[in-house]
């Protein structure tokens, strides 16, 4: 086993016991990046030199319980601000932008001792489900280089799967952590909206965005959650809720736990192999002592429509600041202000971002607001109420993450609607603001990983981590690794 294959927990153990140095682990990860990056392309920026220097400094630092990540090389999705380290959001419009501050979650990683190894690729401004909308290049799925890694946190998921980092942070707006985690055979947790500070997470859709861990196993997800969670005075939407030690919820056995299977998530349109793997995971939950019953989330069908009003509406406003005036790209042909705006945004944004800005601008326009944005907000409340009702009956909900395993590169690029529909099982949880985790359930006959999604009530990260941990225990080691 190579050092780059380590999980966060094992890496920490070896570092703590002085079996290895952070510099060695970091060098191993950087070596791995050098070897496989040409085919996977997880990173927009590899922070090699600084990471090595940083690792050497970490090796001299005192171990302490306040530094649970001391010396661990982690990757961060390139939509999360890193002080002094280029942050592009996968967009040409932010070319050359170097944030003068750290996002709160990055600052917490740093103060926990993590080494930031690089910034991972994503769909431009996190808009997409395949990482093909990156303004720079697509990332490939490490399990099959002809396929997408999912998105929008495709770079973070692929990097973890390919051993290009020990763990990573992604962001999830409508499934952008869970879906790529599923497609890449890794663990991805979208926290409750308000659990992790959004300060420094470049906004796509402010009422939905959450940063969360993408890791090799459930314990690592819990470890990262311990570090990044908690109230932040810089984010009014970040809840002042106590943060438990999430690792303590990882105990075998699910006696007394009630699992709901939403009828609407197991109907037509789900790939039979995917459905089979999910059901196998549900069996594992049952074997661990959980009681399984069917529940209904009747407004599921409307979630995609509501999401594709709300998220683009917020995005159209959030992305107005990229106007060429203060930072990033400016296309200025001395033809006046309006022309500068138009030329800059025409050149800087990709097709999908433009599509959503137009959608959102339309939905918020005077005369259309009530029919679109207000209606979508009402639907959102109904979707939330579906979950509230369901969680009166069950403790967690188990479901597929996506209807299919990873699709082929280019397969859906020209079919945005089908691409949007591939988020059908992750969007409702996002709209409701509830936590969800994707954990590998197994592989399809073609060898593609498939995850199972476990959703919990607001601030119910502990219970979904516990359930995921039990799936992981029952499943055992994945038994294979991407051949790169």
């Amino acid at each position: 086993m190579e050092l780059y294959d380590l999980s966060i927990a094992r890496c920490r153990k070896l570092l703590e016991e002085r079996e290895v140095t952070s510099r060695e682990v970091t060098a191993s990860v950087l070596g791995r990046i050098e070897r496989v990056e040409g085919s996977v392309r997880s990173f927009i920026t590899v922070n090699a030199e600084e990471a090595l220097n940083d690792a050497a400094l970490k090796d001299k630092e005192e171990q302490s319980p306040e530094k649970p990540l001391l010396g661990v090389p982690l990757a961060v999705k390139d939509i999360i601000c890193t002080k002094g380290l280029r942050t592009t959001c996968g967009s040409r419009i932010l070319e050359g932008f170097v944030p003068p501050f750290d996002a709160t979650c990055v600052a917490r990683l740093r103060s926990a001792g993590a080494v930031i190894i690089g910034k991972t690729n994503l769909d431009e401004f996190a808009m997409g489900s395949s990482t093909e909308n990156s303004g720079f290049f697509p990332t490939k799925n490490p399990w099959d280089l002809n396929r997408v890694p999912g998105g929008s946190s495709g770079g973070s998921a692929a990097a973890v799967a390919a051993g290009e980092c020990i763990g990573s942070l992604g962001t999830d707006t409508g499934g952008s952590i869970r879906q790529p985690a599923s497609h890449c055979g890794v663990v991805g947790l979208k926290p409750t909206y308000g659990r992790v500070s959004r300060y420094g997470l470049v906004a796509f859709a402010s009422s939905l965005d959450q940063a969360g861990p993408i890791t090799k196993d459930v314990l690592d997800a819990a470890i990262l959650m311990n570090v990044i969670s908690g109230h932040d005075p810089k984010d009014s939407t970040c809840a002042p809720v106590e943060v438990p030690d999430f690792t303590e919820s990882l105990i075998p056995g699910l006696g007394g736990l009630k699992v709901g299977l939403p009828r609407e998530y197991f109907g037509e349109g789900v790939d039979p192999e995917v459905a089979g793997l999910v059901r196998r995971a549900v069996e594992m939950l049952k074997d661990a002592g959980a009681e399984v019953k069917e529940v209904s989330l009747p407004h599921t069908d409307y979630a995609v429509a509501a999401y594709y009003i709300i998220a683009p509406a917020e995005a159209s406003s959030n992305l107005a600041r990229y106007d060429g005036v203060r930072y990033g790209l400016r296309v200025d042909e001395d033809r006046g202000l309006r022309e500068m705006y138009e030329a800059t945004r025409a050149k800087g944004f990709g097709a999908e971002v433009k599509r959503r800005i137009v959608l959102g601008t339309y939905a918020l326009s005077s005369g259309y607001y009530d029919a679109y944005y207000r209606k979508a907000s009402q639907v959102r409340t109904l979707v939330l109420n579906d979950f509230k009702e369901a969680f009166k009956e069950v403790d967690i909900i188990a479901a597929p993450v996506a209807p299919t395993p990873a699709f082929k590169l280019g397969e859906l690029v020209d079919d945005p609607l089908t691409m949007y529909l591939s988020d059908v099982f992750t969007l409702p949880g996002s709209l409701a603001g509830i936590p969800g985790i994707s954990i590998p359930a197994g592989f399809t006959s073609r060898g593609l990983p498939v995850g199972v999604q476990i959703l919990g009530p607001h601030f119910g990260e502990e219970v979904i981590l516990k359930a995921a941990y039990n799936v992981e225990l029952a499943r055992g080691d994945l038994g294979k690794a991407p051949e790169l």
Binding site: F97, S207, A320, Y322, L337
Partner: protein, 476 residues
Amino acid sequence: MEYEPVIGLEVHAQLLTETKLFCSCLTAFGAPPNTQTCPVCLGMPGVLPVANKKAVRYAIALGLATGCTISKTSLFARKNYFYPDLPKGYQISQYEVPICRRGFIDIDLEGEKKRIGITRIHMEDDAGKLIHDEENPVSRVDFNRTGVPLLEIVSEPDIRSPEEAVAYLRALRDILLYLGISDGNMEEGSFRCDANVSLRAAGEEKFGTRTELKNMNSFRHIQRALFYEIRRQRALLDAGEEVLQETRLWDEAKQATFGMRGKEEAQDYRYFPDPDLIPITVPDEWIEEIRESLPELPAAKRERFISVYSIPEYDAGVLTSSRALADYFEDAVKGSGEPKKVSNFIMSELMRELKRDERDISECPVTPAMLSELLVMVDQGKISGKIAKDVFEEMYRTGTKASEIVEKKGLAVERDEGALIALIEEILAENPDQVAQFKAGKTKVLGFFMGQLMKRTRGKADPRLSNELLREKLAE
């Protein structure tokens, strides 16, 4: 045809918070460009706003002072538009649910009271400032002002004349100053006003087409711009033409309004609730606490002045027109105990001097204690009322105490009986006709003799003593 002007005003008042509405940058006026900025007010990617609690309290205070209903829950909303002085590409304002609704301000028009409704008061953040290079085709942006907290106070279209508009604005400004939540400085832009103006035929219910006037930087500008606009609209209507709904800028140099953009360029601001900010919830205790901490407001103070100091309503109105002036009055009364005399002196002598120099009462070189001393000297007969006015002018000019001026210039009342009698005898001897008239019963000529005496003493003769002596001498 007879027309009735219908005017509604939108005031933007900058709040006197130390820090901006959504970040901790300072708000001080006049700092070098872009020295009071941070990633948040510069609209960097990834930043988030956090509402300034003090600004919310100030908004509530104004709401309570103007009889508004305070919303238990209100929302911040985004007003979207592109401009280089607006770094986020949207202004954070309030739209569907403002913090205060449905209030009023009572104005006083030459003794007539009128109630002007307030539709809403909401919070919003200010934009930056463009600085255009005169020589090169370049514009620069100063973001110091970006994010400074403003209250927008929207009146009902209850105003019917430029005079009413100015009276409303003065009253609103007085309240802001009384509350200490804004400095009301129009030159520095911390009190700005836009006006919606339309005309309708007398007796008509329906409003006419309105124009929105901007760029008026003083009460005088506002009054003139409204006069101009009313005249312009009247001429159009009289000629059978239509008033175009548009924004017009007041040009003070040209003394006219000019259309800025027509209907075709009407902006769609695409308001929606700002997802970065949680709803503002105002607990009842908060409202009560703020209500209790409100200072005495102009109207209440006016009533108290009338009842406690027994001064006329007119005097009370003038004296309470600003908190500083009212405090000045009360301090001066404390030292002299003569409310009406203090009031008279302030309203005539003191206000004339201030007005001439365009000075605020806070800049008055004569302190309330100094004025008290002067009035006490008059009261005790040490100087005459006429001399007091001259002494006051000197005090105002030099900031010297009354007693010092009187001493130095020898202005104290002439009380030397011998000297006065000598002068009286001289006057009587020189005016035998008037003496005869007096003896024939025409006591009015007493005034003539007093005048002569004052002339010869340069006003210093003690009036009471002189009167006595004159009567004595005439009776001889």
